[in-house]
Amino acid sequence: MTDGADRPLAGDVADLLAAIERAAADLGLAEEPARFVAALEAGAPRDDEPGAAT
């Protein structure tokens, strides 16, 4: 299987890192980990939507 969930072992590290390297090949230069939290905040419901704070 090629499922990522099946690459949890020491013997799988090379495959796992190769997969990360392939996926990261075209990352923008300005991409940084902190943009993850920024994406969550930006993706939250707007104030006029049902999930917004009341």
Partner: protein, 467 residues
């Protein structure tokens, strides 16, 4: 009494028709009667629970109600720093984790009036989706002894399912709240990353760790989330976003709610009974007025790879001293997973973290432009036997772990709110969970969908055959 939803019990305490002493004694009696075989607790703090119950009862008689959980007995995964109690984190060490202060989540529930019964069993270091623990005794599935409970918050799910506590807190790094909730037939909520402070909770992998409740009903989970959520000066990742009234949001009908059913990945290799139960649950949401549609999700396999890298490196860093100084104190599968982290370099780790940011930014508009909630199974199979999950080599055991949590892990990588709600039983009588996933910080919609389904389906009324 201990079978009833938390919100009902809390209302009775506030109304003066139920004494905190009576309720606490009922929980302690049940623990005394059942926990030798269920193994939900690591530490039962009966003396302090009784003392707190007497204080809460006296306060209630004087009309002084601390908050919405006044006099409600709760318990905490043994990963939380609880004032006056040791924290083993499921290791063989009695006191592995010593925090600077009590976990913010515990303090907030105590300030709302909750009573602490004790700390709960878990997979060692919260590193295992089956919930078993050779050091502390294997928690038993209340629906069928000899079957796994799901993990890592195994004791939390068992305590709630068996009526040993009115609700519990767990942690979720790859499914550790939702997996045991599904396997034990209770509700489990992993909130959005940053919605609930993790201060005072032993990390497993801080990029993926979430704090959340396990409870009998969705309404109970909504009540608890409202008390837990919010900023915390002790946790820089805790969001400053305002906290909605999650309980009030449950009253909004699901009419017109767009429910997306993944076409890819989330049904691959899933047990027939699970497929049938979850498909029927989704159909019921449709009959309640939700608009059901299929959706092709971005390939989750790269998300799982990202989560694997982050989890392995961060957990190795957190527990480096234990792994290096006392490797034989760890269970073989736990040690094997931790050791992987030492073989991943800093650049690969950071590439995974950068990838996560880009994948999240792409996922949110692509998917939540089309749907409000995603629906799928929580676990690919009903709870297997303890014997089955331990069979074979350590490598085989670890691969089995990966497959068991393959439907929950992508949502930790994306940090999205995800709820598991009971949605039926296998032919062998083991619970099945429906997983609902929403937009960031939109727990209100996820809870609303879960509540509507739960109340219409009625599975929550069933109790495990323990008496």
């Amino acid at each position: 009494m201990t079978d009833r939803p938390l919100w009902e019990l809390a209302a009775d305490v506030r109304g003066g028709t139920l004494s905190p002493v009576e309720l606490t004694e009922a929980c302690l009696a049940r623990i005394a009667r059942l926990d030798a075989r269920l193994r939900a607790f690591i530490t039962v703090d009966a003396a302090r629970a009784r003392e707190a119950a007497r204080e809460r009862a006296a306060e209630a008689r004087r009309g002084r109600i601390a908050g919405p959980l006044h006099g409600i007995p709760l318990a905490y995964k043994d990963l939380y720093a609880v004032r006056g109690l040791p924290c083993s984190a499921g290791t063989k060490l009695d006191q592995y984790f010593v925090a600077e202060r009590e976990a913010t989540a515990v303090s907030r529930l105590a300030a709302a009036g909750a009573i602490t019964l004790g700390t709960l069993n878990l997979s060692e270091l919260a590193l295992g989706p089956f919930g078993d623990n050779a050091h502390r005794g294997d928690p038993q599935n209340p629906w069928r002894a000899g079957h796994v409970t799901g993990g890592s918050s195994s004791g939390s799910a068992v305590a709630v399912a068996a009526g040993l506590a009115c609700a519990a807190l767990g942690t979720d790094t790859g499914g550790s709240i939702r997996l045991p909730a599904a396997a034990c037939g209770v509700v489990g909520l992993k909130p959005t990353y940053g919605r609930v402070s993790r201060a005072g909770v032993l990390p497993l992998a801080w990029s993926l760790d979430h704090v959340g409740p396990l409870a009998r009903t969705v309404r109970d989970a909504a009540l608890l989330l409202g008390l837990l959520a919010g900023p915390d000066p002790h946790d820089a990742t805790a969001s400053r976003r305002p906290v909605p009234d999650y309980v009030a949001a449950l009253a909004v009908p699901v009419t017109g709610l767009r429910v997306g059913v993944p076409r890819n990945y989330y049904w691959d290799g899933v047990d027939d009974a699970v497929v049938e139960a979850v498909r029927e649950a989704i159909a019921l949401l449709g009959r309640l007025g939700a608009r059901i549609g299929e959706i092709a999700l971005p390939d989750p396999r790269v998300l799982v790879d990202v989560a694997n890298v982050l989890a392995r490196v961060e957990s190795a860093a957190v527990h480096a001293r234990l792994v290096r100084e006392q490797p034989h104190a760890l269970q073989p599968a736990v040690r094997a997973r931790l050791e992987v982290g030492f073989r991943i370099g800093a650049v690969d780790y950071l590439q995974a973290a950068r990838l996560r940011a880009r994948l999240t930014r792409a996922f949110l508009p692509d998917v939540f432009g089309e749907v409000d909630v995603l629906a799928m199974p929580t676990i690919p199979e009903p709870a297997p036997t303890l014997e089955a999950v331990r069979a074979g080599t350590t490598d085989e055991v670890v691969r089995r772990m990966g497959r068991f949590s393959r439907l929950t892990r992508p949502w930790n990588a994306l940090g999205l709110p995800a709820l598991s709600v009971p949605c039926g039983f296998s032919p062998a009588g083991l619970p099945i969970g429906l997983q609902l996933v929403g937009r960031p910080f939109d727990e209100a919609t996820v809870l609303r969908a879960g509540h509507a389904y739960e109340q219409a389906a009625g599975w929550w009324r069933r109790r495990p055959p323990l008496d």
